[in-house]
């Protein structure tokens, strides 16, 4: 397991097989879907895909960090991070598929 890494190309190929569009158009649609999801997140929206999972933005406060190599203190600025919470369906299928 864990041997293969899929990319946009594999997702486009799946779309191409599923619907009778050209490979080129399939690739553009995959790109467009990811772009719209990204844009919504950048606007601070939560993206909730039923039976897949939820992407949400969390605001992290400023804190003082430390360079682990030098021990030097460095300020870490407040920032926004993205968290993904998988749906139960995804968790179940991933757990079942990798069992044993």
């Amino acid at each position: 397991m864990g041997s293969t890494t899929l990319t946009r190309m594999d997702l486009s190929e799946a779309v191409f097989r599923e619907v009778g569009l050209s490979r080129n158009e399939s690739a553009q649609l995959v790109e467009s879907i990811l772009q719209h999801m990204s844009d919504a997140l950048v606007k601070g929206e939560t993206v909730k895909i039923s039976s897949f999972g939820t992407f949400s933005i969390r605001e992290k406060a400023a804190r003082v960090g430390r360079n682990p190599k030098t021990g030097e203190e460095v300020p870490i600025h407040p920032r926004r991070v993205l968290t993904f919470r998988p749906s139960y369906l995804m968790k179940d299928r991933v757990a079942a598929g990798n069992r044993g």
């Binding site: 899929l6 946009r8 879907i33 993206v47 895909i49």
Partner: protein, 95 residues
């Protein structure tokens, strides 16, 4: 944004496609990611992020109500790491 809104946006941008085909396209994309992870594969979408599977070792857990020890078996869980471009965009760095 929810799944149906995403489908609507893509449908509006592609008036030459049937709504039901747009639904199939969007559903296929998410389905394909789950299928890959269920086979133990990674899905790397440059700029957006990467979906992978992480192993959680077996451990002794505790029933929080009764305090009783329970064995928790090893399991595999989905994991998402945000891509650099998206992380930068979230913090107003790129575009």
């Amino acid at each position: 944004m929810i799944r149906s809104e995403l489908i609507q946006i893509i449908a509006d941008e592609n008036p030459h496609l049937y709504q039901r085909d747009v639904e199939r396209i969007v559903n296929t994309l998410f389905e394909e990611i789950i299928n890959a992870m269920a086979s133990g594969d990674r899905v790397e979408l440059r700029g957006f992020g990467a979906f992978s599977v992480k192993k959680r070792d077996a451990r002794i857990g505790r029933n929080p109500r009764t305090g009783e020890s329970v064995e928790v078996e090893e399991k595999y869980v989905p994991f998402f790491k945000t891509g650099k471009l998206l992380r930068d965009r979230l913090n107003g760095k790129a575009d």
